[in-house]
């Protein structure tokens, strides 16, 4: 890329990061997030509408389809900012549905979803750890994030060699509460009550799941960056033995090790986003996404775990914010595939695993 194009891209990324201020308070305060914890539907519809108005839900869709036509780099930059603030509105899952509806040429649900006037979630997952939609006609659909907030659900359904897309409205999924104060829903597909949206969204589904996995990695990156920054602040302030904790070399090394994890995660996530934007497809795309998601999941668990440890007892209280990061990480580290699943997929897809 010529220098000017690179600069333009950097400027675009800065702008999208800044735009996150629409839903993130300037001081990063977590009051709103706390207020929504363990409530139903667990999200603020007004915030979801703002996300629509900002063009975020259709960020990746081409402009002809009502989207913003932006790349994965932009999507990841935005999600990183949302992760910093632990935003509970399910942008990754909503954007995934938008991709499927656009691929299926739907005109009934897509506009309201893109505008943030409704939330459409995709009930693709059938086992606890997965990045594929088997599309069984009968199998229960599991782990739908923030399902109680959705007006409609998309159901991928295997029909011969194709993966058809159905939509149902007015179903009430069963929900289970999650550590972050949100919930996950499950439902049994009732195809008799469903509308068939498109005959085959197999390709779009695979792409959308990869983008969701990478987007989740970016969210985790933002989450751990903020959690780490708060921990560094604490190490500077808290005194024991007449000195700031951060002056103890054992803790300095811990902080340095966590910084290494952050830098590696960023390299992996941003690198994958750039390569997807440059046209990586198929196995190359899968290997990139898996590398980034495996790294982000492991690093996020490590950073948030150690952040609690480095805070001592206060880190183990609900009233202090640092634990919110750990508990969010517990919920999304395995979303769109655990680290182990992605390691296995990487070995299947990377052209020269180990050498690359």
């Amino acid at each position: 890329m010529p220098a000017t194009a690179t600069e333009e891209r950097a400027e675009a990324l800065r702008m999208i990061r800044d735009s996150a201020a629409v839903v993130v308070p300037p001081d990063g305060g977590l009051g709103r997030v706390r207020g929504l914890r363990f409530t139903l539907p667990g999200i603020d519809p007004a915030v979801w509408r703002s996300m629509g108005a900002m063009g975020w839900i259709g960020l990746r869709l081409p402009e002809e389809a009502g989207g913003a036509g932006l790349g994965m780099a932009e999507a990841c930059a935005l999600l990183e900012e949302l992760g910093r603030a632990l935003v509970p509105e399910p942008l990754v899952a909503g954007a995934l549905s938008a991709r499927l509806l656009a691929a299926g040429g739907d005109t009934a649900l897509l506009p309201a979803l893109l505008a943030g006037e409704s939330l459409v979630l995709t009930a693709w997952q059938q086992s606890a750890d997965s990045l594929e939609a088997p599309g069984d006609r009968e199998g229960a659909r599991l782990f739908i994030p923030m399902a109680a907030a959705a007006q409609a659900f998309l159901l991928p359904v295997r029909e011969g060699g194709a993966l058809a897309l159905y939509a149902v409205e007015g179903v009430r999924p069963e929900t289970r509460r999650t550590q972050d104060g949100g919930h996950v829903g499950s439902l049994l597909p009732d195809l008799a009550a469903a509308r068939r949206v498109a005959p085959n969204v197999g390709e779009a589904m695979a792409l959308a799941l990869d983008e969701a996995a990478l987007g989740t990695a970016a969210y985790l990156l933002g989450l751990m960056e903020r959690c780490f920054a708060m921990t560094l602040d604490y190490l500077r302030q808290r005194q024991q033995f007449g000195k700031p904790l951060g002056s103890f070399q054992a803790l300095q090394h811990r902080a340095a090790d966590l910084k290494i994890q952050l830098v590696l995660t960023r390299a992996s996530v941003e690198g994958a986003a750039a390569e997807l934007d440059a046209g990586a497809t198929g196995d190359a795309r899968r290997a990139l996404v898996s590398r980034a998601k495996a790294r982000a999941a492991e690093a996020a668990m490590r950073v948030t775990r150690e952040a609690v440890q480095l805070h001592g007892a206060i880190g183990y209280t609900d009233e202090y914010d640092i634990g919110l990061f750990l508990r969010k990480a517990m919920v999304i580290a395995n979303a769109f595939g655990s680290a182990a699943l992605h390691r296995a997929r990487y070995m299947r897809c990377a052209s020269h695993p180990g050498a690359a």
């Binding site: 999650t178 005194q239 007892a313 750990l326």
Partner: protein, 384 residues
Amino acid sequence: MQDLSLDELAALDEDGFRRHVRGWIEANYPLEVRHPTRRLHWHENRPWYLALSRKGWLTPGWPREYGGMGLDAARQLVMIEEMERFGAARVNDMGLVMLGPMLIRHASEEQKRRFLPRILSGEDIWCQGYSEPNAGSDLAALRLDAADEGDHWVLNGQKTWITLANDANWIFVLARTNKGGRKQEGISFLLLPMDSPGVTVRPIVNLDLHDEFCEVFFDNVRVPKDMVVGEVDKGWNYAKALLGFERIAIGSPKLSSSGLARLRALAAAMGKDKEPAFLDSYARFSMELADLKALYESYVERLKRGEPIGPDVSILKIVQTELFQRITDAMLEIAGGNAGLLEPMEEGLHPAGSFLLARPSTIFGGSSEILRNILARSVLDLPA
């Protein structure tokens, strides 16, 4: 089932002893909850405490003359293993595993006669009041003020992070009785009832959303002079001794051992228990657990022989707590979406709960960092 005397129990071979313990637990465990993933409160675990008390099995490690079972280390381990195998709940055990052994070694005869039987009967439930907001790792910086008023002290100040203070009717505290000199000097080890006028308790909600630890405030609280353990101003020594017992207690393999059983059950529920990657990590954990048991046994033997517990006990506590944490990390890794659930995924399987339970064990009772400092300085003699 036959009710065996302690002598008859002692006469059984290890297998017979194990079978007897197992049979008794299965027949007598009175609670609904097995394999709890949080500490139960006294009103929840009381029936089990009392059942053990009636049986005389509350304190396998205490000498018989004080109402204990006087078991050797190997048999104490068998009891722990059988409790964990069954998923028996942990009771309010601060008096049993920490204060009791400390009193047996360091308290006056009168104090022993007064307090030990009440621990065994469940009349007294103790909590440990050491930490303060500004005295955590640097415990010797504690400031709870004990002013000398002739035949009693008057306490003013605050303790914090006191586990199950909301259940306890007695608390042992470290208080500052003398402000001159080194910070380790001038600290006394005091005992007082929680209903003393001027004591208030504020529960703190922990990461697992339970009110398991508390702040305790002291506002002109009177403590009679005979409620000091050992010598006045020398409490740091007794506190250190108690920390030794605490580190052995936390070093007990029970959490790792029940955690590993849960990990295996989880893997089976997830359909991963035959996968080579799981089997390899399971083998590794099993072997580490066996090593931990061997190490624990050696400390329990030392306790039993009445030998002093030195700074090397840090190793035991580090090994247990970090193994337990890694086992629960592995639970989250294989649990998929279940890793984030607030409630158990199914009866007895709660990876998120186990994971959160494991977190603070490397913070309390001497954090892993502080214990490594102790190892480096006091065991390895590296320069400060």
